[in-house]
Subunit: 451 residues, 2 copies
């Protein structure tokens, strides 16, 4: 295929454009270089032959760079590449071997903040389109680029953008902004992400801390909070809130097959964390099923009273716990919040204050959807092998894409799993950038021929 | 009585000597001025006519200033004044209106670190002996001064001193180093203090923190610790550890009468802490009984995971709780530790680590003991009124005195309850120093005539 050969012979161009992108800092957390980077991304799209525009909601919201190219064959299929041009802060600078915004190449690696997350991913997609245009003068399906600038600060406005530009963004499949490649060079094809509900529960029993000798009379908020949260979960991890699992559906037969085929080295995992057994005594397939499809109630933080060294006989006035609940498809964060509130009230804990920080529904693409097979085929051809994953155990803002665009959404990309994303000396591997660019071409091809 | 008149006419001397004492910093926590202050105390005793010596255990342990004067009437009774010449650090200096070691007098108040705790108390006792010697040439009973230098750092060696000098220190009654005077100028005559067992329980589930998405597999130490400590106590405050209360005896009839007569303004107390009800719904006499005689299990601190602002989806590797148990007479801290250990083991929590920080048994002087009536009579005469208190709700190292010297031990002194001890602008009230000095004379008198 000429397209793939073009990629082989133009890797220096790809690396050079990636370096240009890295050299433009775009730290959303500090509002540093955001506008400049959006303009640079537009230039890259233009050079490739993709028309683009800047979409804006209002002042103070980072713009989306939107690019579009229609297939001259009047393809009825449209593929969306969702990416982001913003990066994490590069601090601590002193831990970088090379300046974080230099884009230094050393052999097979390009170093820099954003090298992998997400400028490396973005460049593979732009270069895949370019390879098609340069060799065939066309693309096998319509392509839409949605490149946002607030991913690293929580994609606070992506849902609003998706709603506003619902028609403009309509498509038949979304390729998610990132994707991991494992230690054996197998890309992980992710079909979903769990949802998340992050809450803070607190109890205040008195207006000030007291000498602990007064514990005979003054109630202790830590005891009270412990009594309250002890009712949320049993020791096997089962959540005891009424109707918590009501909408949860079981995994499909295909999902189960995918999970069975997923590699998971229990011993390596256990050694990594120094643990002997899993929650609830889970083993083998049950452990893998839990990663893909089990809701959790996790204490992310607990604090009350004196937490320094040694002894201090204090009776604290307040206690606070941070809990994150991972959600699976069909669980509505808002509904779950009201179930939690209702639970506490019913159990007699109306005095426990609830603060909701974050609610994000889970997203999962049906493993029977033809787009899954198309992506899998492309990945197998470009990488030699690939792994399907029913759902990442973590959370990302995938739900609004699935919900608003009604399109399957799949995560696949070039990021080696130990690429130090969000850390000093982040890097992208040139061999994986090449394979991923080819993979993106094959995805376009597969979608295009399946009219 | 000439002795009391002598006190009236020599208050300037008392204040001047107190100022001299304050002007010699003696911060045990920083080992600042300890030796110098012990020499100064010896000089004051010498000036008074009391022979003294420096007792030492070994290098690195603050010396005790020991003073003794025998009654020429060959009294068979001996009174001990237990005090300390060390003080708390004065920081933060900037919050003091006058330099903390100046001993500035303003009207009825003498300001300075140690003005009340414990140099003010010490001076009343020295001046009481002086008043007797100056006016009668004798003391009505034998007097022993035991003045230590490590009280503010936890009296770490007082037990060793008491054991080593058991015969030298033998006496018929101990006047404790401090005593409070309430807002209505009534001295509180304290007959005891609760004991304390301070422990740290911790659980480690893995060798490092993990992303909270892994909570489906990796056990959460905060959940585990909560499950463990939830078994220690019911929501009314009753401790559920087997045999925890085994040795606890009920309050005597006299104790109950004392408690009934003790003033306790429930409404003022509740307002002070902004609370509406007490632990277990206690009211009136039950609340007062709890303060004097109820063991507690208090969470002094709890920490695990992320405790800063906002959300962080972390699965902590470790959780830690600090618990202080207040003990009542007959409860042996060592025995209670083994009961706690046994409880956790029996309940299946052998993985919970236990670190014992502090064990101090309770002390309580029998309210029927004649020394109690002698002190009460002296306090009533010098202050016009006084209040008996069966036990302070807090803890102090009173137990070794009671246990080793087999003597009744009573807390009475000149410290106004809002004297800002341990805080900036600590002060002593001159009117109370006078009344207390007289009270000490009357205690000596009452003990002397009751041969």
């Amino acid at each position: 295929m000429n397209v793939l050969r073009h990629i082989d012979s133009h890797m220096d161009d790809l690396v050079s454009d990636l370096q240009t992108l890295i050299q433009q800092p775009s730290v959303s957390a500090k509002n540093e270089g955001i506008e400049e980077c959006s303009i640079l991304v537009q230039k890259l799209l233009k050079k490739t032959g993709v028309k683009s525009e800047i979409l804006r909601l209002r002042k103070g919201v980072a713009p989306i760079v939107y690019g579009e190219i229609r297939s001259k064959q009047n393809s009825s299929k449209t593929l969306m590449f969702y990416n982001h041009y913003d990066v994490q802060p590069a601090e601590p600078f002193e831990l970088w071997d090379d300046p974080p915004f230099s884009g230094t190449r050393k052999g097979n690696k390009v170093f820099g903040r954003g090298a992998a997350d997400d400028k490396g991913e973005l460049i593979t997609r732009i270069k895949a389109v370019e390879a098609y245009l340069k060799t065939t003068g066309d693309v096998p399906c319509n392509i839409k680029f949605v490149i946002e600038g607030e991913e690293e600060t929580g994609s606070m406005h992506i849902e609003e953008y998706l709603k506003k530009y619902k028609r403009k963004f309509s498509c038949d499949g979304v390729i998610w902004e990132f994707g991991y490649v494992d230690a054996q060079n197998r890309p992980i094809i992710g079909l979903g992400m769990k949802g998340l509900l992050f809450v803070e529960l607190s109890v205040r029993e008195s207006i000030r801390d007291a000498h602990s000798s007064l514990a005979v009379l003054i109630k202790n908020p830590a005891w009270r909070l412990i009594e309250a949260i002890k009712t949320l979960r049993d020791s096997d991890g089962t959540i005891l809130i009424k109707d918590w699992y009501k909408e949860v559906t079981s995994l499909s037969k295909k999902d189960l097959t995918i999970i069975q085929n997923e590699p998971f080295d229990e011993q390596v995992f256990k050694k990594e964390f120094g643990i002997k057994s899993f929650v609830g005594g889970k083993k083998g397939l049950d452990a893998k099923k839990a990663l893909a499809g089990e809701p959790t109630c996790n204490i992310a933080g607990f604090v009350s009273g004196y937490t320094g060294d040694g002894a201090k006989t204090v009776l604290p006035s307040e206690a606070l716990v941070k809990i994150d609940f991972r959600l699976v498809p069909k669980m509505d964060p808002k509904k779950q919040v009201s179930r939690l509130k209702n639970h506490l009230k019913t159990k007699g804990f109306s005095d426990v204050n609830i603060k909701v920080f974050h609610g994000e529904a889970a997203a999962r693409t049906d493993s029977y959807h033809p787009f899954v097979a198309q992506v899998k085929d492309a990945a197998d051809k470009s990488f030699g092998k690939s792994i399907l994953n029913v759902s990442n155990a973590g959370t990302g803002p995938m739900h609004p894409f699935v919900e608003i665009l009604k399109a399957p959404c799949i995560s696949i990309g070039s990021t080696y799993m130990f690429s130090r994303i969000h850390s000093p000396n982040e890097f992208a591997r040139v061999d994986l950038l090449k394979k991923t660019t080819k993979c993106m071409c094959l995805i376009m091809h597969n979608l295009g021929i399946n009219q």
